[in-house]
């Protein structure tokens, strides 16, 4: 009797879980395992079917010059975008948290880049960067600067991509900081004012430490985005010139869908996932102890 009801309960539970489980397994768990498995196989062709090659793909990756170039680009991309977008987000949040005229409009303007699709953003910035007729060159020409092919020069292309990403991300992170700032009781600032604390002292000693949980959240998102946001490359550079603006995820895409080497793409994907996991866990372990959660 008891066991019969138990079984009935089990079935009932599984039935409730099934729809979500099917979706999760089909689109998340199976692809993840398939990717891992594929990375140990060679890419099959009509004449040479796919076969197990162990770590050969990984060995090839370590010798792949383009891979290392792309990793280097991605590190610079992360270093360029993460601190800058977080700092700007924090600055904007503190600014629009004050009483200022047209505050709603200012907040909205800062947030607008976030709601635009990256493809649209890339198109807008294409107009800025285009040589001769682009906004940058037009303004530069007024001051007598020569025309410059911003996206065509290996020295400037990555910086251009970084600027776009910061522009797009800062407003998004600002929203989190703004929400966190609004939960801080105003009496804290008043108490500090009575003690004679300057605004900078108050920010450094009170506001910033109290925003640390938000900073951790934003930081993890920023790191993930620095590996994830590559849409603009499709419009602007296609990773060029000479792979100067190619990023890891874009390189994975190229391998899978341009060079038709899904197994090597799988290998790169596994490496990317591992790297992200290590970074995220590291951030939690190191920063979590120093953060005051309310």
């Amino acid at each position: 009797m008891t066991s019969a009801r138990n079984i009935k309960n089990q079935i009932y539970g599984w039935l409730l879980l099934t729809p979500a489980a099917i979706l999760l397994i089909t689109f998340t768990h199976y692809p993840a395992f398939a990717t891992l498995a594929q990375s140990f196989f060679s890419t099959g062709t009509v004449t040479r079917p796919s076969k197990f090659i162990g770590l050969d793909n990984y060995r090839f990756m370590l010798e792949d010059q383009v891979f290392w170039k792309v990793v280097e680009n991605n590190i610079w991309y992360a270093v360029g975008t993460i601190p800058a977008s977080i700092a700007i987000a924090l600055l904007m949040a503190v600014w629009v948290n004050e009483k200022l005229p047209l505050r709603g409009l200012v907040r909205m303007s800062y947030f607008t880049p976030t709601i635009l699709p990256m493809i649209a953003v890339a198109n807008i910035w294409l107009f800025f960067y285009t040589p001769e007729i682009g906004l940058l060159d037009q303004v530069g020409a007024l001051f007598g600067f020569p025309s410059h092919n911003w996206l065509g020069d290996t020295n400037t292309v990555l910086a251009c991509i970084i600027v776009i990403t910061i522009w797009k991300e800062a407003g998004f992170f600002m929203i989190f900081y703004l929400a966190a700032l609004q939960t801080l009781p105003p009496e804290l600032e008043e108490a500090a004012k009575l003690e004679g604390a300057s605004r900078w002292t108050f920010f450094r000693r009170v506001t910033f430490p109290l925003l640390m949980p938000t900073t951790l959240f934003v930081l993890i998102n920023a790191v993930i985005n620095s590996f994830k946001l590559v849409d603009q490359l499709f419009i602007l550079t296609k990773g060029g010139p000479d792979n100067a603006s190619s990023l890891l995820l874009y390189y994975i895409y190229e391998n899978a869908f341009s060079f038709f080497d899904p197994n090597y793409a799988s290998t790169l994907t596994v490496v990317l996932l591992l790297a992200l996991a290590v970074i995220a866990i590291g951030q939690f372990v190191i920063l979590d102890k120093r953060i005051h959660y309310r």
Binding site: L188, E190, L194, E195, R205, R294
Partner: protein, 376 residues
């Protein structure tokens, strides 16, 4: 500059201070002085402008009109820090990420007081408020009373002569509030601080204050010692705000030669000049005669103004009897427990020095009215 007879300087003076926002006036032409070393309570119902007044003294709120003087110096436009006042907030405003020690030392660190001095003052203040054992704790690990002490310690350690307190005890439970009231008052006397204390709790005001400034709708209703406010309320508002239960305010009807309690015929005021008088008398000043006792001595034994009991509220030390007298409701405080049932007939008597007569229109005390004693 006005000095009082004892030669005590006013530590704080407000001259015609007004605070207005578009469409509203929160504080309207308020003037008062706070003597050095005294404990002054700003009392009033919520929204009466008492907190705003305090915040204007602190410099956290701009003054629309008038002047704020601190130690004879015009501080109307000074920053909060320049005024050298401490403040205890209702929410305590403790920094949640800093431990007790860092919270207390926050101001000293900001002002770059030497480390040796910091330690010296911290030891002293932590001892004063009883936090010595808790210095390493985070605010989340403290009870409400302990947090209150941290806020207090932070205010004291600055060694500012003036301390402003905005409902500092309202987040504590009743027992703790009572203890802190006594402690706070003792601390203020011991350190010789000038305290301006905002509260809506008249018990706090009565038990702690040297002076009570009762506010209503942005104006000062009455400014005096707790005794003055209790014994000689200037208006019906003061009368009804101070005391638990508050003063009875009984509407009178004019008759030939004086006035009677509306709905009865016993003359209680001999003043014939005014219409619309209100009789004010405290519940403990009414003496009650019980009809059943009177009946045993004969039907005529019921003394004073006749009334009928509508309910009794037993509080332990005394009982508050609610009675209907004519068409007016009257509260009477009777010591101990009383054996009255609903609907019992009683007689109310009082002596004329306990009675206050107010004008019903303006609510002001009519100083030369002639209330009568009501006896047999």
């Amino acid at each position: 500059m006005l000095h009082n007879g004892l030669g005590v300087m006013p530590a704080i003076e407000l001259r015609g201070v007004t605070k207005s926002w578009p469409g509203t006036v929160a504080v309207d032409d308020v003037s008062f002085t706070v003597d050095e070393g005294s404990f002054v309570v700003l009392l009033g119902p919520s929204g009466c402008g008492k907190s705003t007044t305090l915040r204007m003294i602190a410099g956290l709120e701009d003054v629309s009109e008038g002047a704020v003087l601190i130690n004879d110096e015009d501080m109307t436009a000074a920053t909060p820090a320049e005024r050298r006042v401490s403040m205890v907030f209702q929410s305590y405003a403790i920094f949640p990420h800093l431990n007790v020690r860092e919270n207390i030392l926050f101001g000293l660190k900001v002002r770059k007081v030497s480390a040796a001095e910091q330690t010296k003052r911290l030891d002293h203040v932590a001892g004063l408020v009883g936090l010595t054992e808790l210095l390493e704790r985070k605010p989340a690990q403290l009870s409400g009373g302990q947090r209150q002490r941290v806020a207090l310690a932070r205010a004291i350690i600055a060694e500012n002569p003036i301390c402003l307190m905005d409902e500092p005890l309202s987040n504590l439970d009743a027992k703790l509030r009572h203890e802190m009231r006594i402690e706070l008052r003792a601390l203020q006397r011991r350190l010789g601080m000038t305290v301006v204390y905002v509260t809506h709790d008249q018990t706090e005001a009565m038990s702690m204050a040297d002076h009570v400034i009762l506010m209503r709708e942005g104006c000062i209703e009455q400014n005096g010692t707790p005794g003055e406010l209790y014994d000689t309320p200037a208006t019906t508002f003061t009368a009804s705000f101070i005391g638990t239960p508050p003063m009875n305010l009984i509407a009178l009807t004019s008759v030939q030669g004086g006035a009677v309690v509306a709905g009865t015929d016993r003359m209680v005021v001999a003043d014939t000049r005014g219409e619309n008088r209100i009789l004010g008398i405290r519940p403990e000043h009414i003496i009650l005669t019980i009809a059943s006792q009177a009946r045993s001595r004969g039907k005529t034994g019921l003394k004073g103004v006749p009334a009928r009991v509508s309910s009794c509220d037993y509080l332990g030390a005394d009982t508050i009897v609610e009675a209907i007298c004519g068409d007016q409701q009257v509260l009477v405080r009777v010591p101990g427990r009383c054996a009255l049932g609903d609907g019992d007939d009683i007689g109310l008597t009082w002596s004329n020095e306990d009675v206050h007569v107010f004008d019903a229109e303006s609510g002001q005390l009519v100083p030369d009215a002639e209330p009568l004693s009501v006896a047999a």
